[in-house]
Amino acid sequence: MKVVAKTANEAMAEAMRQINPDVVAAYPITPATEIVQIFSSFVHDGLVDTEFIAVESEHSAMSACIGAAAAGARVMTSTSSQGLALMDEVLYIAAALRLPIVICEINRALSAPINIHCDHSDTMNVRDSGWIQIYAEDSQEAYDSVIQAMKIAEEAFLPAMVTADGFILSHAMQRIDMLEDEEVQAFIGEHKSPYNLLDIYNPITIGPLDLQDYFFEHKRQEADAMMKAPEVIKKVADEFGQKFGRKYGLVEEYRLDDAEYAIVVIGSTAGTAKDTVDMMRDKGHKVGLLRIRVFRPFPAEEIVKALKNVRVVGVMDRADGVNAYGGPVFMEVRAALYEEEKKPDVYSFVYGLGGRDVKPVDIERVFQMIMDADKGKKIDRLNYIGVRE
């Protein structure tokens, strides 16, 4: 173990180097450009054995990744925002073909208007594509999660994306505990493929037409893999925690035990929110935080367990549903709580679009609003925080 100062981009590139994938096919995009730029220098310097494929678009990047993974290779790539959107149709194919590809994703707002800063509209756009989604709170977690994701993907035979907030994490230097190369290799183990297109002794057909008589069964099978994925994710995280001391779960509870009011966040905002919770606790408010680390598969059981005894919950979404009934995290958290006899009142707060800074005062305002609502003040179900009204 060595301590280094790295941005999330640098840390994720180092994780890729230590994983040493067989194939990386990638196209640069701000703010994730550095990941593959740094990785390509590792390829040039002979530090990895990777076949680096420079493609002309993200659509081609993911297509090349799928071909390589189907041929039995360990495969990774990196992208952000419009790049992930351009990969969209191929992401579904990677998932349905059950190929264990890992994307190092940096969260950035989708156009228009064009913007390069953080929000979660890019990964929320592909939340139902069949990919595992892990949202990192900081660069350390981004690094650790990339290593875990490779192992999770190869055990669940599902692709996985690890995301870190654009610029807030991707370009901010942080203290990182890096594992030794051998430790990473020992942890991820031998590469596992669901099948191998190049196995000439067991020829297979991939991607044939699948009509009314089989398509539904194949999608049901894919859903089953996702339903079983939480166990794999927890098992890999436990093994990681035991070996290296840093523990991760599907969700993270912060001062929730006796909390009456809670907010739910994903990504780097959790850091600011934890400080805010501490500040408000000092003032005597019974507040807490739930951070969803793994959004896909959706950890409904853990969320219900964490929130069912809270009085009011504010779900903070860094992506808008535009005209959906609240942000995506709000909708699913509220739906998960629906069957509970005793459940909190849940409100939606969309914030931080296009990198709009979220400060402790903004989070305090969310807490204040849900506390007011509890005291009988009527507030809107769907709210925007930090926008000029």
């Binding site: 349905a96 073909l97 059950r98 190929l99 035979f157 669901p194 099948y195 067991n202 020829p203 297979i204 057909t205 991939i206 991607g207 044939p208 699948d210 008589d213 089989y214 539904f216 069964e217 194949h218 049901r220 099978q221 089953d224």
Partner: protein, 92 residues
């Protein structure tokens, strides 16, 4: 009985080469061609025009249709010079 989702191979792959031979594509036909052998002169017009190779030919003779693949387009009946082929409605 076709396989359940629990029995199928992972990732919608097909493990058996050439299995598409067993995939019968004639099941969306609404009309089927029927041959009157008395009128057929074995000119092979139907065989030339059939877009789906669904005319059965043995020893140079027109012997009927491959209903597993025939889509019921009716081109054979249309081109037949002796009106030996009629299209009959498929009943469920």
């Amino acid at each position: 009985m076709k396989e359940t989702w629990k029995e199928l191979p992972i990732g919608a792959i097909i493990k058996e080469p050439g299995s598409s031979k067993r995939f019968e594509t004639g099941d969306w036909r609404t009309e089927r061609p029927v041959l009157d052998p008395e009128k057929c002169i074995h000119c092979m017009f139907c065989w030339i025009y059939c877009p789906d190779s669904s005319i059965k030919v043995e020893n140079g003779k027109m012997e009927g249709f491959l209903y597993e693949y025939c889509k019921g387009c009716g081109i054979c009946a249309d081109v037949c010079p002796t009106k030996a082929i009629t299209m009959v409605r498929e009943e469920v």
